[in-house]
């Protein structure tokens, strides 16, 4: 399995997915850093209430787009995990070796996963450092939030690898894009539903989270970071499309982990059974 993990890392490097994503990350962090700095410079002009709304939302926006970039990396690096090998013809030599098919697939998954966790962790810490450096915001529960921020791309990775065992690379990419869109849009609709007390929108959000739970994970992260104590301002700090009006339950977290494990198990099963 170590052979496959190393192979996967080298492939990520050579295909330049990591490099392109790194450029995106740097560009984003530079722009984000400038924006937060400007906000901090002019925040003296804001009254305390406005400041307590705007700064957390800037922070959660940073996390939102940060998770988008890491999700981009998760999907595009693993899009052809199996289908790419089939389309290139490299699968024939690979599968005929003494390595178990499960080891091949899990080696690839772990290779992508380890890279994604490092990437996500550094990104999360960078955003946190920018916000803490320029503002007075001191988010709590960062350990738990960091873990969840790293879990997000792994969920997408698991589904992407599963899709790769079933679909050609391009079709898998379209599917993953659609699933991510469902999660994002459903999540925003759910926030509006909670804010305006519209049950149907809340349910749409819940269903979309069951289909693809990454947005629910994001809402959990934001809720942990920006709601250290229940205060009258709590609802205000969570306003807007990047906040979390209601904390996703711990059962959502349990469901997400089970979802990830089932996706990986199905991917292994499909790869084991497939004829090449």
């Amino acid at each position: 399995m170590l052979t496959m993990i190393l192979y996967t890392w080298r492939e990520m490097l050579h295909r330049r997915v990591l490099a392109v994503t790194l450029l995106m990350v740097v560009a984003f962090l530079v722009l984000y850093g400038l924006a937060v700095r400007q906000l901090a410079l002019h925040s003296g002009d804001l009254d305390p209430l406005a400041k307590s709304i705007v700064i957390p939302q800037i922070f959660s926006a940073g996390l939102y787009f940060g998770s988008f970039i890491v999700s981009f990396l998760a999907v595009f690096s693993a899009l052809g995990a199996v289908s790419g090998e089939v389309e290139n013809g490299t699968v024939y030599g690979l599968v005929a070796t003494p390595v178990r098919r499960a080891e091949i697939l899990l080696g690839k998954f772990l290779g992508y996963a380890l890279a994604l966790v490092v990437y996500a962790a550094l990104f999360f810490l960078a955003i946190g450092a920018i916000v803490r450096g320029y503002t007075s915001l001191a988010p709590g529960g960062q350990g738990g939030a960091l873990a969840l921020f790293c879990l997000q791309p792994l969920v997408l990775l698991a589904v992407t690898v599963l899709g790769s065992t079933l679909l050609p690379t391009l079709a898998n990419g379209i599917l993953m894009f659609m699933l991510y869109a469902v999660a994002m849009v459903g999540g925003m609709l759910e926030q509006i539903g909670w804010l305006l007390h519209v049950q149907s929108l809340q349910q749409i959000g819940i269903i979309s989270s069951l289909i693809m739970p990454v947005d629910a994970l994001y809402r959990k992260i934001v809720y942990i970071l920006l709601t250290p104590t229940a205060t009258p301002l709590q609802a205000l700090t969570q306003m807007g499309p990047f906040g979390a009006q209601v904390e996703p339950s711990v059962w959502m977290l349990v469901y997400t982990i089970a979802y990830l494990l089932v996706a990986v198990a199905l991917a292994v099963r499909n790869f084991n059974r497939r004829d090449f």
């Binding site: 170590l2 052979t3 190393l6 192979y7 080298r10 492939e11 050579h14 295909r15 290139n88 013809g89 490299t90 024939y92 030599g93 690979l94 599968v95 005929a96 070796t97 003494p98 390595v99 178990r100 059974r273 004829d275 090449f276």
Partner: protein
Amino acid sequence: MDLAIETNHLTKNFGSKTGCADICLSVPRGHVFGFLGPNGAGKSTLVKMLVGLLTPTAGRARLLGRPLGDRAARRRTGFLPELFRYPDWMTGREVLDFYAGLYHLDAVTRRRRIPLVLETVGLTGREKQRVRSFSKGMQQRLGLACALLPDPDLIFLDEPTSALDPLGRREVREIISALKSGGKTVFLNSHLLGEVEQVCDRVAVIRKGRIVADGALEELLSVNLEVSLEVEGWTPELEAALAHLSTGFTRVERRARLTLAGREDLARVAELVLAHGARLYSLVPGQRSLEELFVDLIGNEN
């Protein structure tokens, strides 16, 4: 007999379509076995089942005395696919290192085997080039190197010379002969009948998913053997006796041609000529070619 490959009614169906049906083959260790058939007959289907790319629909097989899929047997098996593709972003050396890892070769064995197989396939000095810069022939040589890397006891070669020039083909034949001398077993899928004739001990022919001939090459080529003879003193009785022995008999003056069922009838021809008081000046068995056998068995597929 110690068998390297043994299949027992091995079958693969793709939905309602038959890939291979009831394949029963036995390949002794240390033999070079040729597997022939027209396009789409099922040659690659059988090989893919044996190396684990396809799951058989029915039947069983053993490789090196162990059931199909056994990891220990896989470690002693090498495979050159018909579609030989390797990660194009890797160098030749990196591909071999990668496959060495997949075969669990230790560092000492890697250091010894990698230069050796590079030299065997004629890629020494090219191992630092990326695969994307390789010609098709070089990629096939790299594939052969990967197949030879674990020093396998059994090696499957699926069209191993399809991308090679005549010199390259001769090199591969020499590699196969060297493998045989080393006691290895080679299973060779090839369209190039001349090549199979030169290196194989045994052949099987497959048509529409079923084996239509299987045996030692010499025995198969001696079926329907054409014989030329020159006799002085022909009699009607002698002609009748030879015509009865053969499936086709023609005579022009002293010379005659007849088709015998097998080599075992050659001596009988000489006996009959002498028994009828004629003089036998020459008795020359024709060398039937594998191509002729192939055409007889497969017919005109078009």
